[in-house]
Symmetry: D3
Amino acid sequence: MSQARKPIEYADASAEVRAVYDDIMATRKTDWINHFWKALANDPATLQRTWDSIKQIMAPGALDPLTKEMLYIAVSVSNQCPYCIASHTASARQKGMTDAMFHELMAVVGMANETNRLAAGYQVEIDEQYKTV
Amino acid sequence: MSQARKPIEYADASAEVRAVYDDIMATRKTDWINHFWKALANDPATLQRTWDSIKQIMAPGALDPLTKEMLYIAVSVSNQCPYCIASHTASARQKGMTDAMFHELMAVVGMANETNRLAAGYQVEIDEQYKTV
Amino acid sequence: MSQARKPIEYADASAEVRAVYDDIMATRKTDWINHFWKALANDPATLQRTWDSIKQIMAPGALDPLTKEMLYIAVSVSNQCPYCIASHTASARQKGMTDAMFHELMAVVGMANETNRLAAGYQVEIDEQYKTV
Amino acid sequence: MSQARKPIEYADASAEVRAVYDDIMATRKTDWINHFWKALANDPATLQRTWDSIKQIMAPGALDPLTKEMLYIAVSVSNQCPYCIASHTASARQKGMTDAMFHELMAVVGMANETNRLAAGYQVEIDEQYKTV
Amino acid sequence: MSQARKPIEYADASAEVRAVYDDIMATRKTDWINHFWKALANDPATLQRTWDSIKQIMAPGALDPLTKEMLYIAVSVSNQCPYCIASHTASARQKGMTDAMFHELMAVVGMANETNRLAAGYQVEIDEQYKTV
Amino acid sequence: MSQARKPIEYADASAEVRAVYDDIMATRKTDWINHFWKALANDPATLQRTWDSIKQIMAPGALDPLTKEMLYIAVSVSNQCPYCIASHTASARQKGMTDAMFHELMAVVGMANETNRLAAGYQVEIDEQYKTV
C-alpha cells in the first residue's frame, strides 16, 4: 500500500501539501514536520481538513494552549494511542508543562479511568441535581 | 443484590461511612452526597480508599482544581460514562467553567479522539524526536 | 427497522429459533429468555452461532462458571455496556457471587483501569522478564 | 508460558490444528498462515470456534467481503489494536481496497470517533424519531 | 449550564446557525434537525466546522454513502455511544440498509471486537508480510 | 522530559521511594522492581498511593489473588494495554495460572467483547428482571 500511507517528505510533496506543511511549521514555529502529517499527506483533503480543524481548535481562546495540550494527552492516554501520547507529551513540554504538572495530569487521568468504571459497575443513577440542562 | 450497591443514606450509614461523608461535604463545601459515594458506601474500604485518593489528587497543586475537573471530563467523555460526564460537568461549572470553556473543551476532546484513530489507522511510526526520555 | 431488532417472543419464533431458546432455558435451568437473545433472534444464524459459542465458553472447565461470569463483568464494566453489566451481574449473583466478592471485583476492575492508563501515560517499556514467550 | 501462546507451525501441529490451517489456506487461496491463527492453535477449541465463526461471518452475503473487511478495520482502529489494523488492512488491499477507499475509510472512522464524543459530552438526548423499533 | 448545551431550535437560532441548519436539511433532503446539531449550535464555530467536515467526508466518493454510514455504526457500536448508534442506524436505513445487511454488519462488528482482544491477549507479533508500507 | 518519567533505579532512589520498593519486593517475595513502579517513582506521591491501593486490593479476600490477577488481565486486554497484558500475564503465571486457565480466560474475554457490541448495536433494553437493586 505504498501510495496510501507512506510518509511524504517535503521535497516530494505537491504544492498543495507543501502549503499545509508551511503553515504547520509557521504556526508551530518549528522547522520540521512530524510523521502524522506526512502520513495524512497521502490524502490531501484529509490533511487540509484536519490541519484546519486542529489549528482552529488548539489556538488560544477561553482555554490556553497548554491546557488544551494536556486535555489531548488525557484523551490519548485513555485511548491507549502510543503515537498520540508521545507526540502530545512532547508538545505539552514545549508549551511549558513541568514535571509536577505532568505527574498531576497522570494522576487525574488514572483516577478518572478508575471511577468511570466504579460508576458503571455499581450502575449508579444520575442524581437529579445533575440533570438540569 | 440489595446489600451490594443500593445507595446508603447518611441516616442509615455506619460511623465509618458517616466520617467519609462528612469529610466529602466539608471538603466540597456542600450539604449533600451524590449517588456515586452512596453506592461505594456498600464497601467501606473502597469508599475510604477512593475518597482519600480523589481528595489528594484533585486538590490544588501544579494544576488548579478547574483544570483537573476538565481533564476528568475529557476522560469521562472518551470513555462514554454518562454518570461521570454529568457529575463532573456539574462540578466544573461550580468551579468556574464558563460556556466558552466548555465548548473549547468539547472541541479538543472530539478532535483528539479523531486524530487518535487517524494515527492508529495510518500506522504512524513515532518520530525519533519524541523518543528521548 | 421492525424486522431487524425487535424482540422475538417464543410464541412468534420459528422452530429454529425456538430450539435455541429451549436449549438456553434448559442449560441455564430457567424458564425465561432475556432480551439479548430475543433481539439476536432476528438473525437466526447469529443467534445460533453466538449461543453455541457462549455455551461452550462459559461451561465449567479449568475455570469455574462463577469466575467466568466475573470476568464477563470485568470486561463489560471496562467497556461501559449497561445491558451487559446488568445481565451478567445478575447471572453472577445466581451463581453465588456474594456482596464481598462483588465489592472486590469492582475494586480490581477500577484499579486495573487506572494503572492501564498510568502505564500508557508514562510510556513504560516492557521489562525483559516479561518478554519470554 | 511457552505452551500457552507460542506460535505453532504447521510442521509441529496436531492433525486437528492442521485441518483448520488447511481450511484457512484453501478458503483464503493463500499458502501461509498468519501469526494470529498460530497463536490460537495453542487452544484448538478456540482456534476451531473462531475460524468457523470468521469463515461464516466474512463470507459473501448481503455485504460483500471487501465491505466487511473495511468494517473490521473501522473497529480495529477504534480499539487501537495494532496487529488487527495491520492484518486487516493487508486483507482489504488484497480484496481490492484502493488508496482512495482507504483514505475515505480513515476519514469516516476518525470523524465517527469525534462525533461519538461530542454526542456524549453534550449529553444529547435521543430524538423521538430514532426510537421506533 | 443552560447556555452551554440546551438544544437550540430553528426559531431561536442566529442567522449563522440557521444557515447551517438550512444546509443540513437541504443536503439531507429532510425537514427537521436532530438533537446533535441543536446541541452543537451552542458553539457556532464547532457546529460549522463539524458540519463542514461531515458533509465533505460522508459525500459519495470512492465509497458510497451507505457503506460510510455502516462504518459509522461500526465505530459507534464499538465505542458504546447510544445516541450515535440510534441516529446512524436510522440514517443507514434511510440510505437503503436492509435487515440482512444490518445483521451482517452486527456480526462483523461483534467478531472484530472479539478477535481484537484475542490478538492483544495472545500478544501476537505482527507478521513480516504485513509490515511493508 | 528526563525527570518526569525516566525509570528510577533503587540505587538512585530517595529513602521514601526505596521504602516503597522494599515493600513491593517483600510483599511479592521477589528481588526486582518492574518498570511500572520505576516510572511512577518520579512522582513519589503517586507511587505511594498506587502501591498502597494495589496492595490492599490484590490481597487475598473474598476473591483469591489468582482470580484477581485474571480479572486484571481481562481489563488490560479489553483496553489494549500491551505493558499491562505482559506484566499481569506473567504475574498470573507465577500465581498458578495454567495454560488451560489462560486459554479459557482469553475465550471469555474475547466473547464478552463481542456480545458487549451485539447488545449495544441491537440497542437491547435492560430486562425488568435485572433492574432490582
